[in-house]
Symmetry: C2
Subunit: 418 residues, 2 copies
């Protein structure tokens, strides 16, 4: 089999699927999603049986327990997958919304209408639930998908895709709405990334290595979800009890996530009254503190932070702490070391809050709230396909709207160019 | 000199410039643009003297008359360049606009704020006015530029950039707001395209060859302005006099532009009453018609259109004409051959108008109006940096808003993630 031809055929099928989805009504798309949810539950045994093949192979290959856990499907997980589809069906359809409309002096009306992007390539790693999750969001926004999951989950993904395609067809959509590259060869990904003009967008979901490899080799626009080196700055005018709660939540509530705090910046003026108690609370939860010289004077057991530590996404119970002169030094530090994901200030001072809001350039800038809140569900977007660290097209949590583009529409009555 | 180091230093300078621009008020940016306009006019002689060096070299190299014309500056062109800057200063500042803001159940307020993109690389060909035009739009939207003009205009561009930088500095902005890669080596462009993380967006302005080369080699997102294979479909329910005016305007008013019509689709039912008179009017203006078999029965002198003709952007007084069975065949043709730039229907039928509007997937879809109207000025955007044929980030005419991105802002009162 010629891999290039194979991938091209899949993408062309997805293009047909996209055209059928672009024409589908919200009702038709929602019905398909609900039927897909039913079918996944009804055919749960089939899914778990196929998943067992992946698990057996992974065990033989000696994959880690954590990997095996991420890979495995059971009744509960299938139920959750199905519930995800039902939730997406309940969200408002972004397609067809006219964002604004205005009149021109020559009498024509011009508007901007939200439309699907077209064909979206999803490249992901081991978790098979991504197959249903990502597909449901793309479909709801009128896009077809070309799925490329991790080779270790190939039987599970193939089974999920079969169910989704069966339903799509039964509901009068083109089967190409859901396409899957079901060969394990790495070359297939490389071929997919060349299909500019057929595939409109690539979303890689996985670790930094995967995202970099995809983005360096793609001729198609890529929406990236890079790391989060997130900061909380405790200003001299902060409510210190609130600051303590926010910093604790930002670091400890779930340290392995991209919106967890990695560096806490503390205003010199309140360092003495704030840091020792804060550090004691962190210590109780097992947080290791890497501090600047000033920090180490106030926090016993803090180890010395090196410059490169400030670039680090620990994803763990480790925290950099730095004492800064004022808000300017805090914002300079953020401008230099932040990955521009989520950065927060705690302050009671209106002016400093507004400056921080305006001048810090991150996907989410928060006043008096935990960085952990930068999330599609928390922000009320309904669902998210990831948190974009890109500045182009979408930034921050990506919901359904971010899976659309716009076109200009003109309602004329014979207007010509003079 | 190490080219890599040289380009990297320029980009880093631009990054500093971007930070200073992001903090600048609208007043400060507008004042800088007005002073730049004054300075260009005041130092017009200096510009024309430097331009003469480029012209002399281009003549020696034997460049075409058209090329020499595009390259040359005179008092009038400098005045126009300056007026462009004054017009951009008068446009509303997109930065800081809060697109929407909403309350979450936990009491925090979440909003989406428009912010600059950062550093924009502009890669362009011979016309030196692009240097001032593109810079003014980027600056107004709070972005710094890394300019890379055609080597044949290097003296002119260097002189323009010097003036713009002098003013930027005098007005309290960082000089890096306007940076220019003033070495002719092609390698410099390749190095620029690798600077992911420093340069945020690349906009190539020029022919298809330039755009393809940039997009294939760039690790940075590229906004593309590809060709326009634009259609007008004359429906059986069209006002035929209006249809004639629209088709004539779309083809003849300025055939060398990307939004000019290249293929006219005519409903079979009105072909006999519409085509002969329309063709006669085209013939008077020297339009060569390439027609399908049906067309050739009705239009004498029409030559046979081949399948590949329908993909062609003639940019000239040549037109494909095809008779179609109905709106479905017309939309199928458009889905297959259109470059998704500008496509129009002429009809009095409400339902068909609405179907065309919804189902045709192009940057502008028009009812009863000429494709030539797909333009930033015509649409009322004030100015445009080009017409994007991309679906990601911006589609259609790109004005100031399209040169920004958004960030989420959170106004909290101690909210934590549960």
């Amino acid at each position: 089999m010629d891999i290039r031809e194979f991938v091209l055929a899949k993408a062309k099928e997805a293009k047909e699927g996209a055209r059928s989805l672009a024409r589908a009504s919200s009702k038709q798309k929602n019905l398909a999603l609900l039927r897909m949810a039913e079918a996944l539950q009804k055919r749960s045994k089939e899914l778990i049986r196929e998943n067992a093949k992946d698990i057996a192979y992974a065990e033989k290959k000696g994959l880690s327990k954590a990997m095996l856990d991420r890979l495995s499907l059971n009744d509960k997980r299938v139920r959750e997958m199905a519930r995800g589809l039902v939730e997406v069906a309940a969200l408002p359809d972004p397609v067809g919304e006219v964002l604004k409309m205005w009149q021109r002096p020559n009498g024509m009306t011009v508007g901007k209408m939200r439309v699907p992007i077209g064909v979206i390539g999803i490249i992901y790693e081991s978790r098979p639930n991504v197959t249903a999750d990502a597909t449901s969001l793309c479909l709801k926004a009128g896009n077809s998908v070309v799925l490329r999951g991790g080779s270790e989950a190939i039987h599970s993904n193939r089974a999920i895709v079969k169910i989704l395609r069966d339903v799509a067809k039964a509901e009068g959509l083109h089967e190409g709405a859901v396409t899957f590259i079901d060969i394990p060869d790495r070359e297939a990904v490389m071929e997919l990334l060349k299909l500019e003009g057929i595939v409109d967008l690539i979303i890689p979901r996985g670790g930094e290595g995967l995202i970099r490899a995809v983005s360096e080799n793609s001729r198609i626009p890529v929406l990236k979800h890079y790391k989060g080196v997130c900061h909380v700055f405790v200003d001299r005018d902060a409510d210190l009890a609130m600051a303590e709660d926010i910093c604790f939540n930002a670091k400890v509530q779930r340290p392995g996530t991209c919106n967890a705090m990695e560096t806490m910046l503390v205003d010199k003026k309140i360092a003495k009254s704030f840091l020792p108690a804060m550090a004691a609370r962190f210590r109780k939860s097992g947080v290791v503190i890497k501090g600047c010289a000033e920090t180490r004077k106030l926090v016993k057991n803090a180890v010395a932070a090196k410059d490169e530590d400030y670039y680090n996404e620990y994803l763990d119970l480790v925290l950099n702490v730095k004492v800064v002169k004022d808000i300017d030094e805090a914002m300079d530090h953020i401008a230099r070391y932040s990955s521009a994901h989520s950065d927060a200030i705690v302050t009671k001072d209106y002016g400093k809050g507004m400056r921080f809001l305006r001048e810090v350039d991150s996907s989410a800038v928060l006043i008096n709230a935990s960085t952990r809140l930068n999330d599609g569900y928390q922000f009320g977007l309904g669902a998210e396909i990831g948190i974009s660290t890109d500045k182009i097209h979408a930034r921050g949590p990506m919901g359904l709207e971010e899976l659309t583009c716009t076109k200009f529409i003109v309602l004329g009555s014979g207007q010509l160019r003079e």
